[in-house]
Amino acid sequence: MLLSYRSLKLFKYFYSHFFALLLILNTTSLLAFESASWLEDIDNLRFAIDMSARGQYNINSNHLSNIDSLGLDLHKVFTLSDGRDIATLVFQGYLTKLVNVEKYPSFYKDKDDLKFICRICNINFSLLDRGALNIRIGHFETPFGLEYNLDTNGTLRQYSNGRDLGGKLDWGMAFNGKASWGGGYELAFSRGSGVDWSDNYSTYIISGRVEKTFGYSSFLGFSTFYGYLTMPNTKNYIDRTRIGLDGNTQVGPLAVLGEFSIGKDDDTELINSLFEMNIQNNTEKLLGYFQFKTTSHQFINESWDTMLQSSLGVRYTPDRNWVLSGQWTYDIKAYELVKRASSLGIQVRYRF
C-alpha cells in the first residue's frame, strides 16, 4: 500500500473541500459575471471576485479544519466636477464558511459558522491638497505595526495585530495623510467592536501610526494603541495599551521585517515581537518566508512566561489569478501548562 491511511484521509479531505469548492465557486461566479459586466461601465471602478479555500491540519491532535470564502473586492474613486478626486471607496465583502474550526475567532458563532464579513469597507475623503489630510470613515484596519503597509487579510501569512491587539479591524473614523518628505500618518478613533458593529457602545479604541520611508523599499513606523474593550465571550472589560515599532528593509532578493511592541492588558505586562525574513525570485511569482514570533506576559506578582513560535511558508503566484500558499507553524516553546502545537496550512486563492 503506497498511501497510508492518514495521508489518504488528508487527501480525501482536501480533495473534497478544496477542489469541489473551487469548481463550484469558479463556475457560478463566472456565470454571474457574464451578466454582471455592467460593473465595468461604472467610471473609475476596479473590482475582483476573490475565492479562497484554506485547510488547516493540527499535527498534534490530528485535527482537520478549513475556512472557505467568496468575496467581492471593489475600489471606486469619486471625482468632483472640477476634475479632482474627492474620495476613494473600498469594499471587501466576504461570505466565509468555517468547517470544523476549533479555535475560531469570537465573531463567529460556532466551529461551522457561515458569516458575511465586511473586511475593509470604508470611504476615504480628501480634505486638504497634496494628500496632506484625508478622513476615512467605516471599517478599516487599526493603524498599528507592519499590517498597515502589508495587508494579510485572508492569507496564511500573518503579522502581529491579531494576537497582540485582539483583532485587526474596527468601525470608526481615521485622519490620515502623506508628506512629501516620505512621511505618513493615520490617527483612528474607533468603536472597539471589531468585525461586528455591536450594540455595546461603551468600548472604544484610539490608535495611531506614523512612518518614514527610506529609499524605494524601506520604512520605519511607530504605533500607539489604547483600547477599552470587552474580553471575547465574556462581559469583562479590559484596558489595553501598546506602543510599537516596526520596519522593513530589502537587500537583493531578501527582505527583512520586524515589529516589536510593549504594553499592558489591565495589570498584565506584555511584550510581543515578530521577525520575518523572506526571499523571492525576480518575477515575484515565488516567495518563501520564515517568521519567528515571541509573546511574553507577566501577570501581577508572577514571573514572565514566554511563548516562542516559528512559521515557515511559501507562496506561489503562477499568474495574475491564482495564489497557492503553504505554511508550517511550530511552537518552539509554549506557555507553562500549555501543550506545544504544530500545524500545517494550505490555501488556494483565485481572483478574477
Binding site: 477542489f19 469548481l23 467610471d43 476596479r46 476613494t88 523599499s217
Partner: protein, 213 residues
Amino acid sequence: MKRTSIMTILSKSSVFLCLVFLNMWTAPAYSIAYCALRDPVVNIYKLFPEATSYRSIVHKITSGTQQQVKNKVSFSIHNNELGQHTLYIAMNKKTPIGIVHSRSEVGLWGLIEIVWALDFNLNIVDFTFQRCRERACKELELSLVFRELIKGKSAQELSALIEQENFSFPPDMADNEEIKVLAKLIIRSAIKTALVTEISWHDQLQSIKGAGD
C-alpha cells in the same frame, strides 16, 4: 483503506481537476490584474511639484492593447500587465498639468515599479521609482545626463534611440554594466507607457486636452 476507495477518490479527483482546469482556461477573459491598488500619491507631487491634487481614470488594458503595442514596436506588455489600471492626471487647482502612470518591469531582484510623468503630447517629462531593490535605480534616478537623454522624447523617438546600432550611453554610465542594462529596461518601459497611454486613454485625454485649450 480499500483499493476501491482509492480508485473512487482518484477517478473523482481527475474529473474535478479537469473541470477546474477547464474553468481556468475560460477564466482570463474576465480577469483583472491582481495588484495592490497603490496610489502613487507622494510620487505624483514629486514629479509635478506644482500639483495640488490629482484625478484618477481607470481603464481596462486588454490583449487588443497588447497587440497594438506589438504592432508599433518590437516588444509589448506582459500578460500580467493586462487588466484594469489607473492613469493619474496631475492638477494645479482646476488645471490639468500632466499625466502620471506607473508600470512594472522585471528587475534583477524583483519587480521594479517605475512612475512616469508625461505631458499631454505623451512626451516624457520625468520619472521616479515607486519600488526597486537594485542599487542602480538610485544612481540612474540621480543621473542628470540620463534624464536629459529621455526628457521631452516621444515613444517613437525613444524607440529609434535604443534601436540605433551605435547607441552610446552617456559617459558616466558607459562602464557600468548594471546601469546600462537597467537604463535600457527603463527606456523600454517609457516606450510602453507612452504607447499604452495613447491606445487606452486616448478619448479621455483628448477631452481633457480639449477642455484645457
